[in-house]
Symmetry: C2
Subunit: 341 residues, 2 copies
DNA sequence: GTGAAAGCGCTAACAA
DNA sequence: TTGTTAGCGCTTTCAC
C-alpha cells in the first residue's frame, strides 16, 4: 500500500467539485445518485486510477469480505479441486480467500483458526485435521458470530453446517463389492476414527461384513495415518498372516496403492490373491496396475456448495434449518478388485 | 468482525487509567515503555479479550503485512511443499498469506494479480502460468512499489528476484544419463517454451544430444501441456514410429508416467525397449513400475527462500544486487532408465 | 439528489 | 516514560 496508489475518494471529489459522500455513493451504485453524475464520477475515478481502500472500508463497515479456509493439506487433487470450487464462488460474490494448512495437526489447526480469526475473516470453511479432538476453537468462533462450514471431514457442532458424502454407504458399497468378488477375509486400512470420514467408512465396512454373515476380525483392522508409509507397513504385516487375507478396503488411495505395490513385489497377485479397493479417486489410482477400484466424489461441487452456504449464512439468506448437505458418490470398479470368475 | 469482539485499545487504556498510545506501544513491545506497565497492560488486554484491529492498523500504517501468492495449481506435492515453506517463514515474521490459483491460464493470472493488488498485499510470490506471455501485470506492480519474487517458473523482469533450479543442467543430466544407458533416439516431452523451466530443460536435452554426437530429430520432440492425457497421446504416436524411439525425457512426472502406462499396455518393455526419465520427483514416480527416474528439487526450501527474500525486500534488508538464487537439484536414477547391460 | 461531519481503531509526531 | 492529538480513507446519518 504505497503512496502512488493512493488516489482517494477525496481526490476524485475535488476534481469534480463534488463531495466525497457523493463519490462514495456513486461508486457503489447507490440509487439516490443521478445517473449522469454517476457516470462522470466513474469516468473520473477510472481516469485517476482510483482504487478503493479496503481497510478504510472494512474499518468503517466492520466486515472484511474475506473467508478463511483451513484444510489438512493442499497436496491432493481432491483438495485442489475443492478449493477451485470455493474460489469460483467467492470470486463471483466479491469475497477474498485466505487459505491455510493445518498439516494434519490439531495443534496447528488451532493456530490457523486463531490467525484467521485475528485477521477477522467473516466466516470459515474447514476440513478437520487428522487428530483434532477438541472443538473449542470453533465454538469460540460461533460465540463471536463467525459462522463455520465444515466440508468432508466434518464435526458435530451445534450451529455449524456440514457438506459431505455418505461415507458409511460408500464404505458399505466398496466392501460389499469385494465380498461379491469372493473376498471373505477383508483387511480394512482405516484412518483416525475421530474423523467422521474414517469412522463412517469403517462402520460401512463392518455393516457389509455383518450383512453377509462374515465375522469381524480385529486382526484385519489397521487404524493408521493413511500415508504411503503406513500402506507399505501394513502390506508387510499382511504378508505374514496365515491364512492370507483375500481383500483390502483402504480409506484412501494413497495407502491402498502403496500396499498394493508392496504386496506385488512379494509376488501377490492382485486381484486374484487379494482384491483391493481404495477411496478418493486420486489420479494415482489410474497409474497403478491393475487400476485401483475406488470411490469417487465431487470435490469441486463440495467446494462450491460449502462456499455458497457460507456466503448465504453471512448475508442472512440462509435457511436456518439446513444442517447437513450430502452429495452423491460413486464406486468406480476397476481391475484391482475384478476377479475373472 | 462483530461487535462482541470489539475490545479496543481505548477500553484497556481506560481500565488501566492509561492513554491509548501507551497501550498501543506496550502491545508492540516498544522499548520506551516501562516493563512493569507493559506487563499490566498485557495482562489486562488478555483478560478483556483484546484483539488488534488490523484494518485500523493497516489503514494507519499503509502496510498490510500480507503477501499474495499466485501459483498455477495447488494439486502437486511440489506446490504444497513450496507453500508449506512459505507459510513457515511468513508466520514467523508476522505476515499473512493469500493464495490463489491461476489454473495455468495467463488470463486468470492477470485477474489473480489484480485481485491481490486490490487487497493491497505488500508483495507477491509468483510462479507463472503455462501460457503467460505478457508481463505487464507485473511491471505495473513494480511501478507501484509492490515487489515480486518469482519461483520455479520465473520471468526475466527488471527488479524482480527469481528462485529456481538449474533446469538446463538438470535436463542435460537426465538426457546424458539416458544416453549412457544406450539410448540414441530420445523423445522429449516438453512444456510450453515460454516458461523458463521447460525451455531450459529442452535446451539441456539438446545440448546433451549435441555433446554426444546425436542429431536433433524434430519428430521426437513434443511440446504439450504436460497433462496425463498428453502423455497418453504421445505414447500412442510413439507406438506408430518406425524405428521406435529408445528413450523418453519428459519435463514432468505426470506425462512421463501416463506415457509409460500406455506404452506398457502395448507391450513395450521399460526400460529395455524404451528408457524413461521424468522431472519433479512426485510421489507417483515411486508407484509406477518400474519406478521412474526423475529430477528431485527442494520444494520446501524454494518456498522458504522465496518468502525470506520477499520479506527482506519489504523490510529493506535486501542486498539489492541479488537477482537470482539457484538451488541444487539431483537426478534420481531408478529402474525406468536403468538397463542391465 | 447532494453535502457536512463524525467516527471506525489504530499509530506516531510532538509535547511534556 | 507517558500523554495529546491528528489523521489514515471510507461510510453513513442527518440535514438541506
Amino acid at each position: 500500500m504505497k503512496n502512488n496508489r493512493d488516489v482517494t475518494i477525496y481526490d476524485v471529489a475535488k476534481a469534480l467539485n463534488l463531495s466525497p459522500s457523493t463519490v462514495s455513493r456513486a461508486l457503489k451504485d447507490h440509487p439516490h445518485i443521478n445517473q449522469a453524475t454517476k457516470k462522470r464520477i466513474r469516468a473520473q475515478a477510472k481516469a485517476m486510477g482510483y482504487q478503493q481502500n479496503k481497510f478504510a472500508s472494512n474499518l468503517r463497515q466492520k466486515k472484511t469480505n474475506t473467508i478463511g479456509v483451513v484444510v489438512p493439506k493442499l497436496n491432493s487433487y481432491f483438495m485442489a479441486s475443492v478449493i477451485a470450487g470455493v474460489e469460483k464462488i467467492t470470486n463471483k460474490n466479491g469475497y477474498g480467500l485466505i487459505i491455510s494448512q493445518s498439516q494434519e495437526s490439531g495443534k496447528q489447526e488451532i493456530s490457523c483458526v486463531s490467525t484467521l480469526f485475528n485477521s477477522r475473516v467473516d466466516g470459515m470453511l474447514v476440513s478437520l485435521a487428522f487428530d483434532t479432538k477438541n472443538l473449542d476453537h470453533f465454538s469460540l468462533l460461533l460465540k463471536k458470530d463467525v459462522p463455520v462450514v465444515f466440508f468432508d471431514r466434518v464435526a458435530e457442532c451445534h450451529g455449524c453446517m456440514s457438506i459431505k458424502i455418505d461415507n458409511f454407504k460408500a464404505g458399505y458399497e466398496a466392501t460389499t463389492h469385494l465380498i461379491s468378488q469372493g473376498c471373505r477375509r477383508i483387511v480394512h486400512i482405516g484412518g483416525n476414527l475421530l474423523r467422521n470420514v474414517y469412522a463412517d467408512r469403517y462402520n460401512g465396512y463392518r455393516q457389509a461384513l455383518a450383512d453377509n454373515g462374515i465375522d469381524l476380525n480385529h486382526k484385519l483392522i489397521f487404524i493408521t495415518d493413511l500415508t504411503a508409509e503406513s500402506g507399505t507397513e501394513i502390506a508387510k504385516k499382511i504378508l505374514k498372516m496365515d491364512p492370507l487375507p483375500d481383500g483390502i478396503f483402504a480409506a484412501n488411495d494413497t495407502s491402498a496403492v502403496s500396499a498394493m505395490v508392496e504386496l506385488q513385489e512379494s509376488g501377490i497377485r492382485i486381484p486374484d490373491d487379494i482384491s483391493v479397493a481404495g477411496f478418493n479417486n486420486e489420479p494415482i489410482s489410474r497409474v497403478i496396475k491393475p487400476n485401483l477400484t475406488t470411490v469417487d466424489y465431487p470435490a469441486r461441487e463440495i467446494g462450491e456448495i460449502a462456499a455458497t452456504s457460507l456466503i448465504n449464512k453471512l448475508e442472512n439468506l440462509q435457511n436456518i434449518s439446513v444442517d447437513t448437505i450430502i452429495l452423491k458418490h460413486s464406486l468406480i470398479i476397476r481391475h484391482s478388485s475384478l476377479r475373472g470368475k
